[in-house]
Homo-oligomer: 112 residues x 2
DNA sequence: TAACTCTGTAAGTGTTGACTTACGCTCTAT
DNA sequence: ATAGAGCGTAAGTCAACACTTACAGAGTTA
């Protein structure tokens, strides 16, 4: 149920802003907080939630704590979402009771 | 920003339970509420949130209102998640290929 | 040692939101 | 027209949570 925590973590806009600041690479807590409209302790609390959800990882460098995106949490959510595709399309096909010309939206497999 | 609403919608466990009840196909509100530990009006409110997030669609059949999974909301969230993969992998590759030892004790100048 | 930097946590507050019951509306059948 | 089934909404309550300031701990520098 790790995707549950990840969904909760990504639901909050401020926490998403924290998360998106790591797109370009690892950042220290203070650098993440700079430019955000919330205090640094608030960012620390958000990072804790993201870390528990396997969305970020952390490592120290001196007194600074760097955070980076962890794809484990992202993969958990993605797999959960993908599990609906076959069900939803199958249900739609059963509802239409007609021959669908072609498979509409199968996703391409990706390495992780 | 429709993925924001979808993430909020999927973050709540009860709402996910409502959503997952539509895996096998469309269901009426009363049938969805049966077996769930919350009241039928609560399910109606959850369905409204899911509908606003493009996660479900609805249609009438007599006095009954049927809900079914809408892949639009799912696709929005999936695309949002996928947008991190290149960034996260690129950032990791940049970190691995760069001269890491040089950056060991570097202190970045900060305002404030 | 002391001083400084950087971060996490404790404690408290205000708001959001998930839930309840009660009510009203629409549709169908008698 | 009346009754009943099915559903959405209004109003209110209560716990969860996102935020703040204050403090404490770990690490580095002089």
């Amino acid at each position: 149920m790790t995707y549950g925590n990840a969904l909760i973590a990504l639901a909050d806009p401020t926490r998403r802003a924290v998360f998106e600041r790591l797109r370009k690479g690892a950042k220290a807590v203070g650098d993440i907080a700079d430019g955000l409209p919330v205090s640094r302790p608030a960012v620390s609390q958000h990072l804790k939630v993201l870390k528990d959800a396997r969305l970020v990882t952390a490592y120290r460098d001196g007194t600074r704590q760097f955070y980076a995106i962890d794809t484990q949490g992202l993969a958990a959510v993605r797999d959960y979402l993908d599990s609906f595709w076959g069900d939803a399309l199958g249900a739609f096909k059963a509802y239409a009771e007609k021959d669908v010309p072609k498979a509409k939206h199968r996703r391409k497999a990706r390495s992780r």
